[in-house]
């Protein structure tokens, strides 16, 4: 059973601009732009100004339209001076996406081979409304939201990234889970032709990359299915065309290039748990008190940093989202359920 309690970061009905006002404002903005007035008033104008140096992508038309219709700055950090958005080049040039190699620069170098259009997603398992969906149809019913989240990697570095996407909860509601559904299991594409890391015979990962969430975690309003970032579509190396973003968990939970979402009864075994269960658990909640066996999780290096200021900051419980998510874990021993 799901009991929904509003969290501070929840969006309320009252936050949403009525469509008539929204549309008239857009017309107004259009008129202003026509007059050449450069007043950055609306969220979109502000966002666009922030992304003026972000290279334009090559998104299909439907995605461009979705993005132009985004609710900009739907969730932003409470302290924007502390949580400054990382430069696009860093967020798109420094990635862990082992399907394309193990070096942080490998995904940016090699992910160009990934074909993201057309793309389809299978929704199956304990649902009444499953099937295979073209990504466009999959995304269509929900409005895009821009959410600026901290991303904390299990390797003790972090970045602040503005995502564009839809709440996973809406997708799951549409799938109409049966009463047996307790967990959500995600799968990344397997295609060694396109993903050179999957061709390596020395890889420790047993492809496909698998991740999982408890159903309440998946339904949590902070959990996002991202299709874009920095006001554009996702670069391939960031998990195009569809990735998960779970901001209170270590980055490896935020699975990339998703092809399958299954509602299941049993707790899925995620890839890292399979590789080293003593180092990576199912929950993987950001927790400064539980170290990775090989390094401390008490602090993180906020990137980009520089040589003599590693920008080491204290890691916060649940990556600073404790107010929103902590109650989901009430009574759970987070030391054993790491």
């Amino acid at each position: 059973m799901l009991i929904k309690i509003a969290k501070p970061s929840d969006l309320h009905e009252s936050d949403v601009t009525p469509e008539s006002i929204y549309l008239s404002r857009r017309r107004f903005m259009g008129g202003m732009a026509g007059l050449g007035a450069g007043l950055a008033l609306s969220g979109q104008a502000r966002a666009n100004a922030d992304y003026s140096d972000v290279p334009e992508g090559d998104a299909p038309t439907w995605l461009k339209e979705k993005i132009s219709d985004t609710q900009w700055r739907a969730i932003t950090p409470s302290d924007p001076d502390k949580d400054k958005i990382a430069p696009f080049d860093d967020a798109s040039g420094y990635n862990n996406f082992f399907e394309f190699g193990t070096d942080k620069g490998d995904p940016a170098r090699h992910a160009g081979s990934l074909q993201t259009e057309p793309w389809s997603v299978v929704v199956d398992g304990e649902v009444n409304n499953g099937g295979r969906f073209a990504l466009e149809d999959f995304a269509k019913p929900s409005q895009f939201e821009e959410r600026i989240y901290r991303l904390r990697c299990v390797e003790a570095w972090s970045m602040v990234i503005p995502w564009l996407g839809i709440p996973l909860a809406e997708v799951i509601k549409r799938a109409d889970p049966t009463s047996k559904a307790k967990y959500v299991r995600f799968e990344t594409l397997v295609d060694p032709e396109q993903m050179r890391g999957q061709r390596s015979s020395f890889s420790i990962i047993d492809w496909p990359y698998v991740e999982g969430l408890r159903l309440d975690e998946a339904m949590h309003p902070l959990t996002l299915l991202a299709m874009g970032m920095y006001g554009r579509e996702l670069p391939n190396q960031n998990g195009a065309p569809l990735r998960l973003v779970v901001p209170w968990k270590y980055g490896f939970k935020s699975i990339k290039s998703i092809v399958r979402i299954s509602l299941v009864e049993e707790q899925p075994v995620n890839s890292w748990q399979q590789i080293a269960a003593d180092e990576y658990g199912f929950y993987a909640n950001v927790n400064p008190e539980v170290d990775h066996p090989r390094w401390s999780q008490a602090t993180e290096r906020r990137l980009p940093n520089s040589l003599f200021s590693p920008n080491a900051i204290d890691t916060l419980m649940f990556n600073g989202y404790a107010d929103e998510v902590a109650e989901m874990y009430a009574g759970l021993d987070l030391r054993t359920n790491y």
Binding site: F98, G101, T102, G197, I204, S296, T299, L303, P310
Partner: protein, 206 residues
């Protein structure tokens, strides 16, 4: 006299070549071309550089046996000291750029993390070999010098273990270095070591 000058040039050339990677990485960092985490960039590159220096140092003896070229033996001490220098810089990069000179954290990490303990042991080993690589120490140690410096193989093993423990997802790079290390170590096994000069004769005849 001329020959001596050539050898000097050779040694200076090797010295400069060993300096090139450090200059290149430093230049990349200075030009903001080392990514969002330049400290980690230096840490990892210098670490791999230290392993290269160690492998190169240990390959000189088999290469000398194979070719009888005097030049290899002439740079052995130098490359060994370069391995020590790179390893020291690797350690300093960790303390400076990753831990930000947080001494308390450094202390707790040192005792808690097996891969760091193994790395430190390797560094201490290299330092001992470096300190005893001069003529005076060689004379003092006499017969014991050689067995002491065979420790370099044990150090190579520690370095590979240290590297093995930081690998997260793909063993390919590690396996490559481990294979090279195994090859070098194999050339020191008596049966193989004996065949190297024979191999040289065969090669020189063709």
């Amino acid at each position: 006299m001329a020959a001596q000058r050539v050898w000097l040039l050779w040694r200076v050339g090797v010295f400069l070549a060993a300096l090139v990677p450090l200059v290149f990485w430093g230049w990349q960092v200075a030009n903001n071309a080392a990514g969002p985490e330049p400290g980690r960039y230096l840490l990892l590159n210098i670490g791999i550089g230290a392993l290269w220096m160690l492998l190169l140092t240990l390959s000189l003896t088999p290469l000398t046996k194979l070719t009888r070229w005097k030049g290899f033996a002439l740079i052995r001490r130098q490359l060994g000291l370069w391995a020590l220098a790179y390893a020291t810089l690797h350690m300093l990069s960790y303390a400076l750029f990753i831990l930000g000179l947080n001494w308390a954290l450094l202390g707790s990490e040192l005792v808690k993390r097996p891969y760091i303990i193994v790395g430190i042991l390797a560094l201490i080993g290299l330092a001992v070999l470096g300190a005893t690589s001069n003529r005076w120490a060689m004379k003092r140690l006499g017969k014991r010098w050689k067995p002491l410096h065979k420790l370099s193989y044990a150090i190579l093993g520690l370095v590979l273990l240290h590297f093995f423990w930081v690998v997260r997802a793909d063993m390919q790079e590690w396996a490559m270095y481990a294979a090279i290390a195994a090859l070098i170590m194999a050339t020191r096994l008596p049966p193989i070591a004996r065949t190297l000069p024979k191999l040289r004769h065969r090669l020189s005849r063709t």
